[in-house]
């Protein structure tokens, strides 16, 4: 893991790391990755990955409207809205 890797990763995660912090972040993340690399030594041949502790399956419900429209409540806490829409900087010229 080097500076460029971290900056690429940060871009994927939509995070910005200041130039003077890149080294420290790289070091700390390398320490964590060294810890998790202990997993590579384990024989997991034939073991099924475990996604839910009780091996539960996704519950489905009937495709019916059950919730009222709460747009106004939800938009009341948004940083910027207009006419019921969320406002963001201009995307297309």
């Amino acid at each position: 893991m080097n500076r460029e890797d971290i900056q690429q990763l940060a871009k994927l995660a939509q995070l910005h790391i200041a130039d003077d912090q890149v080294d420290e972040v790289t070091n700390r993340i390398s320490t964590v990755l060294a810890l998790v690399d202990q997993l590579s030594a384990v024989d997991t041949e034939g073991v099924a990955p475990m996604a839910h502790p009780l091996d539960a399956v996704q519950i489905l419900r009937a495709d019916e409207i059950t919730e009222p429209n709460v747009r106004e409540q939800m938009q009341a806490i948004a940083p910027a809205t207009e006419d019921g829409l969320f406002l963001v900087p201009k995307v297309i010229d």
Partner: protein, 484 residues
């Protein structure tokens, strides 16, 4: 009044020896007197609390009020509370007024339980010391130069300092049990899926579980019912009957088989902590239980597997914080990428950003099989260890944490040292088993916790066994000197 347990307080509320308004006001006064220093609350909702208390008194006067009616408790600031700031310990949500209640918050309200406010926590529940909170660290009421543990450090400190009789909390890798141990109180993380996660801000969805903190196991047994149950709004909650969690409180321990894992008493466990834990186990033998040593051979994989799975799930869950729909938005965004990137970079703290990056790496193209899939396989091996152990024993016991509360700053420079705080608690989350911590001694004036791990949905037995221990010992009655 504040040294009484939930069990004692609800009796007095029911008999009208004390009103909910009086009780609520008493705790609000205590918070006001003590919390400027401790910092265990992020928001105190005095006005709402007194209104809820008044309504509870009306129900109590009418008769047939639920057992918990009128009892004030605190909620960890990870649970959405309608009309009240729900910050999750983060600048990202400092301005977030939840538009709805979490299911468990609603459940307690339906019982007439009063909410005193929202407790401090590590940012997005990522930490074991409460030092990552945007609102500053919580102090340990037993030793104010030390951490209360985390992430539910605010709930633990509030209960320990008698600022609330009980509090809700969450546990993803030890976030209930470790602070309960470090603050000398009882804490329970139920079986994964036992409590609804609806309205509980997600960190690692396959590990997160809501639970409780109180002075005693009996108190948790009284409070656990409304926390439990299937919720159609949370597809990971489990449709399993809700037990009467008080039904085994008086059951003698004769014939109880306790497993003691060799792996929980190895290198890294401080000698004085081990001594307290071994004495507690001897007390269980005195009470009629038998103990045997067991093996959980994949224990050493717990921390590495957790630090793949938890960051991976956190990087996915925290992608929702984009500065568009709610939460923090940066000033003067230049374009959409700048809006996303600067809102997230300015809104999240360092530890949260590090975990997002580790998670993004573990899930990125070419690494998924080596990290996430591998960790999920290790997770099954860890679970199988427990399943095998529970063929021969009813419960498993060991230390909750390797040492008592540590000083502020002493582990923040090395993420791995901090992660090892949860070395005995993480496996339980990976396996989805219920775990609890109860106080079992003091070392240099700082509390030590005994961990009890039960089989799936065996909370009633765990609470009964803990209660029997607390009938024979006094550690759960000890309060920090300045907060008696």
């Amino acid at each position: 009044m504040h040294n009484q347990t939930v069990a004692q307080l609800v009796k007095q509320l029911q008999s009208k020896a004390v009103s909910s308004v009086e009780l609520t006001q008493h705790y609000l006064d205590r918070i006001q007197q003590n919390d400027a220093d401790l910092n265990s609350f992020i928001s105190v909702t005095a006005e709402q609390a007194l209104a809820q208390a008044k309504a509870a008194d009306v129900r109590l006067a009418q008769g047939n009020a639920p057992t918990l009616c009128g009892l004030p408790i605190a909620h960890k600031d990870i649970f959405c509370t309608q009309g009240v700031r729900t910050s999750c310990g983060s600048k990202m949500l400092d301005n977030f007024i939840a538009p709805y209640d979490a299911t468990i918050v609603q459940n307690y309200q339906n019982q007439g339980v009063v909410s005193l406010g929202k407790t401090n926590m590590d940012e997005f529940a990522m930490g074991s010391s409460n030092e990552t909170s945007y609102y500053g660290p919580v102090k340990n009421p037993w030793a104010t130069h030390c951490v209360p543990g985390g992430s539910s450090g605010g709930s633990a400190a509030a209960v320990a300092a008698r600022l609330a009789p009980a509090a809700t909390a969450t546990d993803t890798g030890g976030s209930i049990r470790q602070p309960a141990a470090l603050c000398g109180i009882s804490g329970l993380k139920p079986t994964y899926g036992r409590a609804s996660r609806y309205g509980m801000i997600a960190f690692a969805s396959s590990l997160d579980q809501a639970g409780l903190m109180a002075q005693t196991a009996e108190d948790i047994a009284l409070l656990l019912g409304p926390l439990s149950g299937f919720d159609p709004k949370d597809s990971t909650s489990v449709d399993h009957p809700v037990d009467d969690y008080t039904r085994l409180l008086d059951k003698p321990l004769t014939g109880l088989r306790i497993g003691i894992p060799d792996e929980y008493f190895g290198e890294g466990l401080e000698a004085s902590t081990e001594k307290c834990v071994r004495e507690a186990i001897a007390q269980f033998e005195k009470l009629g239980a038998t103990t045997k040593s067991i093996k959980l051979p994949h224990t050493s994989l717990s921390v590495p597997a957790y630090y793949v799975i938890a960051p991976a799930e956190c990087s996915a869950n925290l992608s929702r914080f984009d500065g568009v729909r709610y939460g923090y938005r940066c000033k003067n965004p230049q374009d959409l990428d700048d809006l996303y990137s600067r809102s997230r970079s300015e809104g999240f703290g360092d530890e949260v950003k590090r975990r997002i990056l580790v998670g993004a790496y573990a899930l990125s193209a070419g690494y998924y099989d080596a990290y996430y899939a591998k960790a999920q396989k290790a997770r099954r091996l860890i679970k199988q260890d427990f399943v095998a152990a529970f063929h021969d024993v009813d419960l498993i016991m060991g230390p909750t944490s390797p040492s008592p509360a540590f000083e502020f700053g002493s582990k923040s420079a090395d993420p791995v040292a901090m992660y090892l705080e949860d070395i005995y608690t993480i496996a339980t989350n990976l396996a989805g088993l219920p775990g609890m911590s109860i106080p079992c001694g003091l070392v240099n004036g700082k509390p030590i916790g005994l961990q009890i791990i039960g089989n799936y949905f065996d909370e009633a037995q765990m609470l009964g066994v803990a209660h029997q221990y607390q009938q024979a010992t006094h550690f759960h009655t000890l309060a920090p000197a300045n907060y008696k």
